[in-house]
């Protein structure tokens, strides 16, 4: 809620506009310097293409040739499916381990070994076992996405504070009720942090998997462009990946704010208002 006087608000908006304009101006300067460096020969345009060439490449690979779409689809498909499989496996296994002390004890050495192993090093093995196609990529990404949600979920579940546990028990809550109404929601913030990490590694995992061996995907496209010294297109592909990464990150942020609304002031106020309204209409 903005309670400041209107004059103050226009002033703030003016400042914000000016800040955006300054950012744009600096960005334009960087592009100009880069462009000039390429023109003057300080930077070899063959290896470091000028912004205008990259822009032209973006238009070409997206709209003229349109060849990037297929690769983008292949990679995103791997990323999304692998992310869901890895994250869900990680969370479910952590829930099982969180609820059973015995399972936790016997799982621990394997978890430590797996954690010490760089997961991406299993990439070539996965490809040997599962082939060059989708299933090996799915396995690699799922593996890369598994650990952060697993470790965080387990940590979060075991962190439940003793006082609130006693409070639940004093009200004769069953184990199931304690899990659903206390342990899981209390662990949500740290679980979500794990999921966000997994999302970030999913894209990286997919690219590395495609670098190792694949016939389609953004990793393949990037390798091909670089090897044929088509640098403007390689940069265009890279920028596309940056945009995708940003989009995934923002999406996760929005989902996270909704799920753990009680840690976000704006969301909390919204939910409070909504629940109040739902109550009086019921």
């Amino acid at each position: 809620m903005d309670v400041s006087p209107p004059a103050d608000r226009t002033e703030r908006r003016r400042l914000a506009t000016r800040r955006v304009l300054t950012h744009l101006a600096i960005f334009a300067c960087v592009l100009l310097v880069w462009e000039a460096a390429a023109w003057s020969g300080i930077a070899d345009p063959l290896l470091y293409p000028q912004p205008s060439a990259i822009a032209a490449s973006i238009v070409r690979i997206f709209f003229v040739q349109g060849n990037i779409w297929w690769h983008l689809w292949v990679t995103m498909h791997e990323v999304i499916v692998g992310f869901f499989v890895g994250t869900l496996l990680g969370i479910s296994l952590a829930v099982a381990a969180g609820l059973s002390e015995i399972l936790r004890r016997y799982m621990k050495p394997y978890v430590i070994i797996m954690e010490a192993t760089p997961r991406i090093a299993l990439g070539p093995l996965m490809i040997a076992w599962l082939g060059f196609g989708f299933s090996s990529k799915l396995a690699i990404i799922a593996l890369v996405c598994f650990f952060a949600p697993f470790v965080n979920t387990l940590t979060g579940l075991l962190m439940a504070d003793e006082d609130r546990m006693e409070m639940m028990r004093s009200m004769r809550a069953t184990k199931r009720q304690i899990f659903w109404k206390l342990m899981l929601p209390a662990a949500m913030p740290i679980i979500m942090a794990g999921i966000r990490l997994a999302m970030a590694s999913a894209l990286a995992g997919a690219l590395v998997a495609e670098f190792i061996s694949a016939n389609h995907g953004m990793g393949v496209l990037l390798t091909r462009y670089t090897q044929s010294l088509n640098m403007p297109s390689a940069f265009a592909s890279l920028l596309t990946l940056t945009a995708i990464g940003f989009f995934l990150y923002r999406t996760m942020e929005i989902i996270e704010a909704r799920i753990i609304f009680w840690q976000n002031d704006a969301e909390m106020h919204r939910v409070a208002k909504r629940r109040g309204a739902a109550w009086s209409s019921a």
Partner: protein, 266 residues
Amino acid sequence: MAAVLKSEARAAVDAAARPNVLEGERVTKRFSETVVALEDATFSVPEGSFVSLVGPSGCGKSTLLRMVAGLIPMTSGTLAVRGEEVKAPRTDVGMMFQKATLLDWRTAVENVLLPTELAGRTTDADRKRAIELLHLVGLEDFEFAFPRQLSGGMQQRVSLARLLQTGADILLLDEPFGALDEFTRERMNIELLRIVDGIGATVLFVTHNIAEAIFLADQVMVMTPRPGRLAKVVDVPFARPREIDLITTAEFNEIVAEVRGILGGH
């Protein structure tokens, strides 16, 4: 609501006339061979009385409360609520903690409704009662606030409303206002007295503040540490309702001195 507000002001101290709702005999809790949290505590609590447990850290007062709540087992002795041995948490016994122990993702009224929800289906009557209880503890206009939007004192008010929502009439309060500042605590104590008098509940109140223990209670169980022992039960003869001025009277300070004397010997 009639049951909640049953305005049946507690008669002064006619403890002997009322049946005991809680009886402990040689209640002992050992955490290990050498760590004795509570040794041979024998006591009884008459229905509707307010009993304070006072003593320094390690005197076993919180341990005793948790055993009455059925949260931890005893090592030896017997402990009975309404003639039945305590083996697990009971519906007529409720507990409140030093921390508000609210669930951050639930609004105040949803927190108050938690015990109802745990016990089964929530009816419209339950919802109505939860709102009324929030008003009773002085939280009009905060029914749909989340705990993080409330001050420490207000969070404890929600916690008290939640305790009342359980329908328990034996209330175990473990330093419920210990984390609050002096002024808020004083105000909360007076309101607590008003509320428990109103519903005729039996209260066990743990504190390490001697004046607070005496001001609130009909009886003060004075406890000493290493090993935890119930040193003496001191009667507090003042009529109710009590005003805060009471703590400046000579009679009040005599009792303070007596309790201090018992604790000082240890």
